[in-house]
């Protein structure tokens, strides 16, 4: 019974082993468009009427090829028959390879459809035994960039490292293509000796050598490209062959490696708070303006230095200019730099030295100069103002072309007569006047005075005419003269008219006064004879003289005899008449 069971079991297995299989196998399910795909239709029985799928999305590069194998291993027969195709994809995408059919022993078998993904072209498939492939896998050139988003003018460093796997060796290398850092200011830092450093690369043990270090200052904002460094390297690669001592033979292969493109995104410096005098300095700096003398004589030389020291993009910005009084003679500045560059950027100092020669004495201020830079640590602009310096020029000639004649638009520089050629001290006394100016020109008084003479002219002419008319009027003139004379000499007598004593006293005095003024007779030699004689000399006619003498006589007489009012009146008018006649005749 037990034996029976064993026999059945054996039979079943035999049967099972004899089961027919028909499968489609692809070399890969995902491939690049430049790759080929091998598809095998494998069966373990000898079939007929094989129908391949349509392969509409592929072109058949080779095939079909048949391969039949029979094996007898330990008395067990195995058989397989394979149809193989090499397919090249036509386009990218996901494609399904359809079913294929075969007839085995009268029965139809089908394969399962297979989905294939065709991707973009990939690098050529590598052969792991190819020395070139090994070289490519074990030598890497890497560009390490210290910062990928720096500010404009912020120093960044690029370090080129050559990674070498432990089982390969490098004989020599040659630079094929030197990167041109077109949008950067660059400086190479010389690598003095190549040092092999153990490190890891992608998780594997490697050794590396620093080939080159470069400090870059981006000069443009935006995405900047660092061109790759390309090297031609002679690599020693181990091969599968061994020499008679059993050590591996090395093969020398030329390998071109490039440190791939690196893109750097350069940020612009912030616009907010940008000082007006910002000239592009980025880093951290110190700023100083100094002179080597503060007191000197005219025509001696003096040196003023503008110095910027610190770390940052020295050389890449201009030093601020020194503005000096125009009366100083200033020569072109002398520029000097003491800058060293290392991996962290440039540091050192830059200075401009101005030679100044004052030609005149006086005080000359050197105004404060400001220097602005962008501080990378605080990300803010900083401005340093230098101290204001004053140069004292003690001895020397004095500047004499100043003192332009003010308050007019014509400025004529006139030499000033110097009193001693020195700065005048303060005044001790003064007279204050009101700040409100009062001008004579165009004032009322001015117009009156200017026009008055023109008004006076016709008036004067008119008056003169009047006078001439009157001079021509003889009778009237007589009356007027008499009146005038009477007014002049007899006014007192007229007032005393009626009072006998007073009247005749006044009359006598009037007559005397008249003679005194006309004939220049002194009162002492006042006698009638003398008067008569003088009047005769002056060619006054006899009537008038008699009248005058009569008047004097009646004045004397009046002291002793009574006179009536009528007589007084008569004497008064007689006096007036006589005086006017004498006056006329004397004047002639």
């Amino acid at each position: 019974m037990k034996l029976k069971l064993h026999i059945i079991a054996f039979l079943i297995t035999c049967f099972a082993s004899a089961q027919v299989t028909f499968e489609a196998k692809v070399s890969k399910k995902k491939l690049g468009i430049n790759e080929r795909l091998r598809i095998d239709f494998v069966m373990n029985g000898d079939g007929d009427n094989f129908t391949p799928p349509s392969f509409e999305d592929f072109t058949i590069a080779a095939g079909p090829s048949q391969n039949i194998s029979r094996q007898w291993v330990n008395g067990v027969k195995s058989f397989s028959k394979t149809y193989s195709y090499f397919l090249a994809p036509k386009k990218r995408g996901k494609f399904t390879i359809g079913q294929s059919t075969i007839e085995i022993d009268g029965e139809v078998y089908k394969t399962l459809p297979i989905t294939i993904e065709v991707t973009a072209a990939i690098d050529k498939p590598k052969d792991p035994n190819d020395p070139n492939y090994i070289a490519s896998q074990s030598i890497h050139l890497v560009a390490e960039v210290s910062k990928t988003n720096p500010y404009l003018n912020e120093a960044i460093t690029v370090v080129y490292k050559l990674y070498i796997s432990p089982n390969t060796g490098v004989e020599t290398w040659r630079e094929l293509d030197n990167p041109r850092y077109s949008d950067f200011w660059s400086q190479n830092i010389n690598v003095k000796e190549l040092k092999l450093v153990n490190s890891t690369f992608n998780g594997e043990d490697y050794r590396y050598v620093v080939l080159r270090k470069t400090v870059l200052y981006p000069q443009k904002t935006g995405k900047l490209n660092i061109e790759p460094l390309t090297l031609d390297i002679k690599v020693q690669v181990p091969t599968n062959r061994r020499d008679i001592f059993g050590s591996r033979l090395l093969k020398t292969v030329h390998r071109t490696v490039a440190a791939g493109n690196r893109t750097i995104n350069v940020k612009p410096l912030p616009e907010a708070g940008k000082p007006l005098d910002f000239s592009g300095a980025v880093g951290s700096f110190d700023f100083e303006v100094s002179t080597n003398k503060s007191e000197l004589k005219a025509t001696e030389a003096l040196q003023a230095t503008i110095k910027v020291s610190g770390k940052g993009n020295l050389k890449l910005f201009e030093l601020p200019k020194l503005t000096l009084p125009s009366s100083l003679e200033v020569y072109e500045p002398e520029h000097s730099e003491k800058i060293s560059t290392n991996l962290s950027g440039m540091q050192g100092q830059m200075s401009n030295t101005y030679t100044i020669v004052p030609s005149y004495q006086g005080k000359y201020p050197i105004p404060s100069v400001s220097f602005s830079y962008f501080d990378l640590t605080t990300k803010k602009y900083k401005t340093i103002n230098s101290k204001e310096l004053v140069i004292n020029v003690n001895e020397g000639p004095i500047n004499n072309n100043a003192g332009d004649n003010s308050n007019t638009s014509t400025i004529i520089k006139e030499p000033i007569a110097q009193s001693g050629g020195q700065f005048m001290s303060f005044k001790t006394t003064t007279n204050f006047i009101s700040k409100e100016p009062s001008y004579f020109f165009k004032s009322k008084l001015f117009w009156v005075l200017l026009l008055a003479p023109f008004l006076i002219l016709p008036i004067a002419i008119f008056l003169r005419h009047k006078k001439e008319e009157r001079d021509n009027d003889v009778v009237g003139n007589k009356v007027r003269t008499a009146n005038k004379l009477a007014r002049k000499y007899l006014s007192e007598a007229k007032k005393a008219l009626g009072k006998k004593e007073a009247f005749y006293n006044a009359l006598e005095r009037a007559l005397h006064n008249y003679l005194k003024s006309k004939l220049h007779i002194e009162t002492s030699d006042f006698s009638k004879d003398k008067i008569e004689q003088l009047l005769t000399n002056k060619s006054v006619n006899g009537d008038a003289i008699t009248g005058f003498i009569d008047l004097l006589k009646s004045c004397e007489l009046a002291r002793y005899t009574p006179f009536s009012n009528v007589e007084m009146q008569q004497d008064y008018s007689k006096a007036a008449r006589v005086i006017s006649i004498i006056d006329k005749q004397i004047r002639r």
């Binding site: 503005t323 009084p325 125009s326 009366s327 006086g362 005080k363 000359y364 201020p365 105004p367 204001e388 004053v390 004095i398 500047n399 004499n400 072309n401 100043a402 003192g403 332009d404 004649n405 003010s406 308050n407 007019t408 638009s409 014509t410 400025i411 004529i412 520089k413 000033i416 007569a417 110097q418 009193s419 020195q422 700065f423 005048m424 001290s425 303060f426 005044k427 001790t428 006394t429 003064t430 007279n431 204050f432 006047i433 009101s434 700040k435 409100e436 001008y439 004579f440 020109f441 165009k442 001015f446 005075l449 200017l450 003479p453 023109f454 006076i456 002219l457 004067a460 002419i461 003169r464």
Partner: protein, 254 residues
């Protein structure tokens, strides 16, 4: 009655103010002499604020500013002093010291030929003096004209006529000069740049281009004012541009 009191009060006040100003002036001079220039300036400025001025006051004030190395106010007050007495040699001497400190070097365009001679003549006297001349000459003319009109002898008449007619011509000329000088004075509106450094724009706004840059202490001529904030200026070399009004100080305070 009230008017009388007011009158008396004003006189008393002005007298006391005058006395006070003398005291302040002396105090300022004392501070100046001791080297306390800031204090001296304060004293002098107080005198100015009371409404009076004088050449010496401006001169001392400018000296004090000069001692403190303040270029713009120093030049400003020297120019003020020169306005009051244009021929003061001491003021001119010290102004040349102050101008040594200025940064801008502006070449003035020299005027040539007849226009220069004319301007020189007009500028020889103030317009008040010219006005006085013209009045005197008109009076001379009037007197001599009457003399000509009334005199009887031919030689006298001839002489009087010649002199009087030349007097009237001269009077007209000096009146013309007075007008011309007055016109110059009216047109002359100088100012001193007070800002340390200022950009002169081509248009009266901040956007426009910078025509040139001026520094503290430079004397400019004001041509016109726009919108109160911008002033059009002209330099001695003929350049013009717009400057922010707060950067300059006018010498004629109108």
């Amino acid at each position: 009655m009230v008017r009388k009191i007011v009158c008396i009060l004003t006189i008393v006040l002005s007298v006391s103010l005058g006395a006070q100003n003398e005291v302040l002036f002396d105090a300022g001079n004392k501070s100046y002499n001791n080297g306390n220039y800031q204090q001296a300036i304060e004293s002098y400025e107080r005198i100015l604020s009371s409404g009076v001025h004088s050449t010496e006051l401006y001169f001392n004030l400018a000296n004090a500013y000069y001692k403190l190395n303040r270029i713009a106010p120093s030049i400003y007050y020297y120019e003020k002093a020169l306005q009051l007495s244009p021929k003061n040699k001491d003021v001119k001497a010290n102004l040349s010291f102050a101008q040594n400190m200025t940064i801008d070097d502006i070449e003035s365009v020299p005027e040539i030929g007849l226009s220069r001679i004319g301007k020189n003549m007009v500028n020889a006297f103030s317009f008040d003096t010219w006005a006085l001349f013209s009045i005197v000459l008109v009076m001379v003319f009037a007197a001599l004209f009457l003399g000509y009109y009334f005199s009887s002898t031919t030689t006298k008449k001839r002489l009087a006529f010649i002199v009087s007619s030349s007097a009237i011509i001269l009077a007209m000329v000096s009146l013309f000069f007075a007008y011309q000088k007055h016109h110059y004075v009216q047109k002359d509106n100088p100012a001193i740049v007070f800002a340390k450094e200022t950009d002169i724009k081509t248009d009266p706004n901040l956007r426009s281009e910078v025509a040139f840059t001026l520094h503290e202490g430079t004397k400019v001529q004001v041509l016109e004012v726009y919108d109160e904030n911008w002033t059009k200026i002209k330099l001695a070399d003929g350049k013009t541009g717009w400057i922010p009004s707060e950067d300059i100080k006018l010498l004629n305070n109108i």
